[in-house]
């Protein structure tokens, strides 16, 4: 066989292995979410009968609808706040010659590297002091902080890449800084803001530590809610797999619909999970 054929065979063998190992756990989760308990327990791969009972139980035994609502609200508002503050900060850092940009960038990078456990206790005390424990607002604030580092890092190079002449021309025509920002720069960076918004949304949706710590009793997000199905001596696997599928479906849909943007976002500057 020629080198080319070998190369091709190797590629497809590798690709098959790759898709199988990455895809299998997700496939197994979805498959089992439709199985009867007896088929789950007997490890029957493809049983004769399938059921939606696990999904019914997922919504009935725990308030999954409420968890979803909380997660959607927190993710949407934190993402919007992070997009707004991040684009403002990135514009200031990249295009207005303010003092201390180096220092601010170092702080932003440090915060993005900082393990949450280092600051969780003082933040808990602050949020409690503000009366925001067990509220969605408290979680929005914390998640805005952690996604803000991402949006700033992503948008600063984006802002730099826009030619200075565009703004200069508008300034000569008498446009003030607000007009330059809102009418010239923002429309040009809007695609970038959107891309980083997707990454931020996924990050907030998946966050667990603060979602757990800051809401001991009331507002539960999906990640924390999922853990609620377990009890000490019984794990309802079918129900957990169904709830997991419900939690993951919005994300997978988003990933499939926006994969080009996500890949370009992940590979161009967004370095957080």
């Amino acid at each position: 066989m020629s080198r080319k054929t070998w190369d091709k065979a190797l590629f497809y063998a590798f690709a098959a292995f790759f898709v199988a190992t990455i895809g299998f756990p997700f496939f197994w989760q979805v498959l089992n979410s439709f199985k009867l308990e007896k088929d789950i327990f007997s490890l029957t791969w493809f049983p004769d009968a399938y059921t939606l009972a696990n999904y019914r139980k997922a919504f009935q035994s725990r308030p999954l609808m409420e968890y979803m609502g909380n997660s959607i609200a927190v993710s949407v508002f934190a993402t919007l706040a992070s997009m707004a503050l991040g684009s403002m900060a990135a514009y200031a850092l990249a295009r207005t010659r303010i003092r201390g940009t180096g220092l601010i960038l170092i702080v932003v990078l440090s915060v993005s590297l900082l393990p949450p456990v280092v600051i969780v206790n003082p933040i808990y005390a602050l949020i409690r002091g503000m009366g925001l424990l067990n509220t969605r607002t408290g979680l929005v604030i914390v998640n805005t902080l952690f996604t803000l580092t991402l949006t700033i890092w992503f948008l600063v190079p984006y802002m730099h890449s826009i030619p200075a002449e565009l703004e200069e021309a508008a300034e000569i025509d008498g446009a003030g800084p607000w007009i330059c920002y809102s009418r010239i720069i923002m429309p040009l960076v809007a695609p970038g803001v959107f891309t980083v918004g997707i990454l931020a949304f996924i990050q907030v949706w998946n966050e667990y530590l603060f979602a757990l710590v800051m809401n001991p009793v009331r507002v539960k997000l999906v990640t924390v809610g999922l853990k609620m199905y377990e009890s000490d001596n019984y794990i309802p696997w079918g129900t957990i797999m169904a709830a997991s599928t419900v939690i993951v479906v919005p994300l997978i849909a988003m990933v499939l619909a926006l994969q080009k943007r996500i890949i370009s976002g992940l590979t161009s500057g967004g370095l957080k999970e």
Partner: protein, 297 residues
């Protein structure tokens, strides 16, 4: 309003946010680590100097957590980089079907860690786990193994689950690096008679170094703060075998109500993180410079 004043106005919410919710908490944690401060004693704080640090360094549970966290970090990042390099090489080929690879790669990345933790917990279950079934059907094990109730088994499964979740993401970063390597360079080497292995080690790998350094820095720090996957899979067990530093710290804070000692543990985590960052100062300097001057990346 001048443009510079406008800039200060735009950056001020971010500065307030970071000051209040990041800089102040870091300072507060360091400060509290020198005090005796417990939930059950109310608001009383007594200065105890380095007592918590001495206790920490003579505490077996701390060393267990630190040791496990270090081993976890080294093994996950090591495997993720190797697999990431291999996957990226495959994704960089021009054969039909590579689009599918790039979508599949995003699935583990997008799935919440807690969900992927439960997937793995289900798959390695001692009675209903498909992994036991597979291993037995190919003859690798005779009886089903309770992976998560064994010390080494639980650690290995956690590492595996983390690699599954993150290696695809590393491969995307490597892929971006590969695409930045000019094809002409590799073709020229081919004409000069360099084989594929020589080309990979002499041209591709050295040119990937900046991308790899960035990926390794971020992954080391992320892996070191491992927490969520443990909550889903083992909750630190069996015993304390898989208790990470973050899990130990959170238990000290919120289960034991011991804020002083917890702050010392948290400060230790920060010190290790800084240590990792210092090893990659070039990466950090590059990134900050790029942010200031607008060079690409």
């Amino acid at each position: 309003m001048t443009k510079r004043q406008f800039g200060y106005l735009l950056i001020s919410p971010t500065i307030i946010m970071f000051g209040l919710f990041a800089v102040y908490p870091v300072v507060r944690t360091l400060y509290l680590s020198f005090f005796e401060y417990r939930l059950q004693f109310g608001e009383t704080m007594t200065f105890v100097g380095l007592k918590h640090y001495v206790n920490m360094l003579t505490n077996e549970r701390f060393w267990n957590a630190f040791g496990f966290t270090m081993a976890f970090t080294a093994l996950t990042v090591g495997f993720e980089v190797l697999l990431g390099l291999a996957f990226a090489q495959a994704m960089n080929k021009d054969y039909p079907g590579r689009g599918l690879l790039r979508v599949v790669v995003l699935i583990p990345w997008a799935i919440p860690t807690i969900v992927s933790g439960f997937m793995w917990k289900f798959m390695v279950h001692d009675q209903y786990g498909v992994i036991n079934q597979m291993l037995r059907s190919v003859g690798l094990i005779r009886d089903y193994v309770p992976w998560l109730s064994r010390d080494i088994g639980a650690k290995a499964i956690l590492i595996l689950a983390d690699i599954w979740k993150t290696a695809p993401y590393v491969s995307l970063m490597v892929l971006a690096g590969l695409q930045g390597i000019p094809r002409s360079l590799l073709e020229a080497a081919d004409i000069d008679g360099a084989g594929p292995i020589v080309r990979y080690f002499r041209i591709t790998l050295p040119l990937l170094k900046p991308v790899l350094a960035t990926a390794v820095l971020f992954r080391l720090i992320q892996s070191f703060k491992v927490y969520t996957v443990i909550v889903a899979l083992t909750n630190g067990g069996p015993g304390n075998a898989t208790e990470s530093l973050t899990l130990y710290t959170l238990r000290t804070y919120f289960d034991a109500g011991n804020y002083g000692y917890g702050s010392a543990l948290a400060s230790f985590t920060m010190i290790v993180t800084c240590g990792i960052a210092v090893c990659f100062l070039d990466v950090i300097r590059d990134k900050v410079e790029a942010g200031r001057k607008g060079r690409a990346r």
